[in-house]
Symmetry: C2
Subunit: 562 residues, 2 copies
């Protein structure tokens, strides 16, 4: 270990220890504060971030340290109504892979502990970009500013740190060397043994358009900490956030004396969409993918045939069941926020809301609230949120992809009763923003095909069920048929909670109950909540369990006789 | 935890602690002694084992506790020249899977620590069958008696124990519950969280004909400890050893009050070969496979398409390179034993022996031994071993499958120079035994197709190379093209050793150097040597790393608001 690296190991020891403890104990931990405040990040940080963002618009993004760009390309439009006009250096898949191959051996030769410390250092340095990153995320994904700050900044970086400590923990399971002495009656034989971590190969991470950083960093950092270079392939319309992060990581690598090509950005163009060429290149060992189920399944099959380990987050259909509540308003306020947050452009957003036809029992009032009243109050809660000028536009954000507006139109034409109409939402700051408030339709369990598919965006269904048991059966069936990334059930009955918990987990679904207040089903907390269960059709990855890191490398032994 | 189980946890704590420590430190550990001696296993154990074996011949195997057999079937022939005449209960795939599904929930509900303790108890009880198991293994696989005892008894059981402690270690990474409190400025929000282990589903383990127990127990026990029932599908010609083990495990389960259907035996017949029907059944979560590359690849593809986690040990081509030695005789004696042991019917047996054309440097004599002399002395070492009446027949054993004799014939007809002819080996105890001593051919690196494929059985190639560097290049190329389960290099030059070690591990091969004396490249030691690197075409499983256990279950969280 060279001196600068041992200093980094010392410097970040307490962070790594604390993060490891939180990851194992599943308690609250956040290394980066989630509030976008100059008090926390430096008085100048907010304005400096805005200045960098404004200064980048209309210009080439020239901060990447990756060599041999063949052209420059960019096609980003802000969902808030303007062209970003940024171009990015385009390296061919061959060049990216060759760069990664050159960078690989010296990185693999470092110890896991050194790699972990270097990666924490890189994250700490890259955190200086959080405010520019927030603007970049807002104006590519359509997220509101605060959410964009949190999702691409502290929350994503906490997930990256989580992957680092998970990977370090896994790699430290085994000793690096042993003297093995086998007794043979009165004599014995001794072998000298060494064990080395060998990464599967170069990682390719396929980013998505809605969470370009949050969904990419876990796979990238799990790969890096286990010794592999990573190539992050951006979505063609959402490059800027990932470009900022990759550039900051490359600068950090260069500053600590390592090859910046350990982390590279792949920029797709209309002529080279990148994913297939990268995944099919010689030397690729792991792939991380976030995106559609159809393409994800193709990737999984290709990888299985080519000995590549593939981690996927595809899509699911997330159900809610409301049987009984302490306070209906508290439950519906929470649910309304979840339905509005980033206009439900989240893999974890609820879609299908099952409510017993007889209504919902409210403990605080001792009343049974009829089904129709529950629906009306849910609609009213959504209306109140979206029409609140202070929080509505920021909560809903903008629609990333115009295809989502088409999808709302198709949903309208299903012929189902419309419980709440979707309308554009005026955004005073960005009058040209592409927006849509939640569309709420009424489904029918006899026609599950209507709602047992992912309707990505602000489209949800309320579905009456005969009873809690019937609702749970529908929820569990949906999990088995469609996969799932979140579930949420409201019941004040402990025995119903237990039976639902058992049934959900048996089906492979994460379970949540009785969310009210400032905690939402769409969100998962690094170190405490696993994101994805790896147990349904929604994907085989779980951020960050042991399988997510342990599958990325082999431990290979050397035996030396005498 | 019920009282009997907590007693088992106490009873086996020291075994589990010691095995876990050895597995992590990679030091020597063996829970069951490998010598088939009445002094170690009880004075009557050897004769009792023989009596049970003799008493079983020609009769139905009626010790299994699995219900709803539809027919009885058996087709085993001893490679030593007689018919076993044993029939086994045949349960249809549907019945086996239904039995496993019924047994699953209560097993999954136990804690990992309880499961581990129960499994150690089962192994301890099943170890009482070691001597019968040795005879059963000898007379199905063709292994010599001592090897049969070790491979199906202590060595296999140590691998099972290793899988148990690996699975327990992995599952204990995360707390089972947490109180999660997120600070929110002057207030906070608290969620109650629980985390449960959810096995992927029922395990199907596909056994092989040469190591029916050794290659099956790791996957079976890794699945069991992580909460899943397992169905062990025997090779149609090698049922008896696995039947003994499954019956003993079922009896143990029943005795401790658990459902014996947690472990079941699937017996293939000419009408129902079992594998495809089992793997395709609803509820299968993991598959462990040992066998041919072609069928293994088909299985891997099927599993990827159906969300099943598949662990494979397919086949590789194992190379040896001899550059320099301390003592040539010591090296060649070791190598001759490896080539003869169980007539090379081992996935880890060496096949291609690269020797520099200029010869091998011997340090003890200070001489360069010419290539031709090395070859002659290797042939002489093999001759000496096979013609040694005391150890030859027991070392070579018998040929499990007559197709191996055909393969020897095909190898003879390659047109390559025959360095040593394969002949039958007289076995005084079993004059009808199907035997063959090693065939040694001379290969040529310009015609790699001759030897860059697995020639399963007593078929090896000596291939002259221009230099150590050329030999290493051929070895590494072979690893990349064919996959590998073992490599062995002889060099007394520390810098060559280092460069070979680096190159082998970079290629994904396990490395071994300078084996002499009673330690052979064919063997891997539980707790210390990983079997399989999961990094070459030879398979994606490694006994027993974290990935081998962590991929078998999810940790799924429950979040409860207030």
């Amino acid at each position: 270990m060279t001196a600068p690296f041992s200093a980094l190991v010392e410097k970040h020891r307490s962070t790594i220890d604390a993060a490891t403890a939180a990851w194992r104990e599943r308690t609250f931990y956040a290394h980066w504060p989630e509030v976008p405040s100059g008090k926390l990040y430096g008085e100048d940080a907010p304005s400096e971030g805005k200045r960098r963002f404004d200064g980048q618009l209309g210009k080439p993004f020239d901060r990447l340290l990756q060599r041999d760009a063949q052209s420059w390309h960019g096609e980003e439009e802000s969902p808030y109504g303007f062209t970003l006009g940024i171009t990015y250096p385009v390296l061919s898949p061959d060049v990216l892979v060759a760069n990664a191959r050159r960078a690989a051996p010296s990185w693999a030769a470092l110890s896991p502990a050194v790699r972990a410390a270097v990666l924490v250092e890189l994250l700490e340095r890259a955190a200086a970009t959080f405010f520019e990153l927030a603007h970049a995320t807002q104006h590519t994904t359509g997220q509101g500013f605060v959410m964009a700050f949190q999702a691409s900044g502290p929350h994503a970086f906490d997930r990256a740190l989580e992957a680092v400590v998970a990977g370090l923990w896994a790699q430290e399971t085994f000793a690096g060397a042993a003297t093995w002495t086998k007794p043979l009656g009165k004599t014995s034989i001794t072998l000298t043994k060494r064990y080395r971590i060998r990464p599967r190969g170069i990682n390719v991470t396929i980013g998505c358009s809605t969470f370009p950083v949050w969904n990419s960093l876990p796979g990238m950092f799990a790969s890096l900490v286990t010794g592999a270079p990573t190539i992050a392939k951006a979505h063609p319309k959402v490059v800027y956030p990932l470009a900022i992060v990759v550039a900051a990581l490359q600068q950090g690598l260069s500053d600590v004396g390592l090859d910046p090509h350990l982390v590279q950005l792949a920029v797709p163009t209309p002529y080279e969409p990148m994913t297939q060429a990268l995944v099919g290149a010689h030397g690729i060992g792991t792939v991380d993918y976030t995106g559609s189920t159809a393409f994800g399944q193709e990737l999984e099959r290709f990888c299985a045939e080519h000995g590549i380990v593939c981690f996927t987050e595809k899509s699911g259909v997330n159900p809610i069941l409301i049987e009984s509540v302490e306070s209906l308003d508290a439950a519906l306020d929470n649910l309304a926020f979840s339905l509005c947050l980033y206009s439900s452009q989240m893999c974890t957003a609820p879609q299908n809301i099952f409510i017993p036809a007889r209504g919902v029992a409210e403990r605080s009032s001792g009343r049974m609230i009829p089904y129709r009243d529950v629906v009306e109050r849910l609609v009213a809660a959504i209306d109140a949120l979206v029409s609140n000028e202070k929080v509505g536009p920021g909560t809903c954000g903008a629609i990333q992809n115009s295809a989502t507006l088409d999808r709302i139109e198709r949903a309208r034409q299903l012929g189902l009763p419309i419980l709440r109409q979707s309308t554009p939402l005026q955004n005073p700051e960005y009058p040209q923003a592409r927006t849509a408030t939640p569309l709420l339709l009424e489904g029918d369990t006899r026609q599950r095909a209507h709602y047992e598919r992912e309707w990505f965006g602000p489209i949800a269904f309320v579905i009456p069920v005969a009873s809690f048991e019937h609702g749970l059966e529908e929820v569990v069936g949906s999990v088995e048929r469609c996969g799932v990334l979140s579930t949420l059930i409201y019941t004040t009955d402990e025995s119903l909670l237990r039976s639902a918990d058992d049934a959900l987990i048996a089906a492979g679904a994460p379970a949540a109950f009785n969310f009210t207040g400032p905690i939402w089903i769409n969100q998962s907390a690094a170190f405490s909540d696993f994101h994805g269960t790896a147990a349904t059709r929604a994907g085989n990855a779980s951020y960050t369990d042991l399988a997510f890191v342990a599958g990325r490398y082999s431990v290979i032994g050397t035996r030396i006789g005498s």
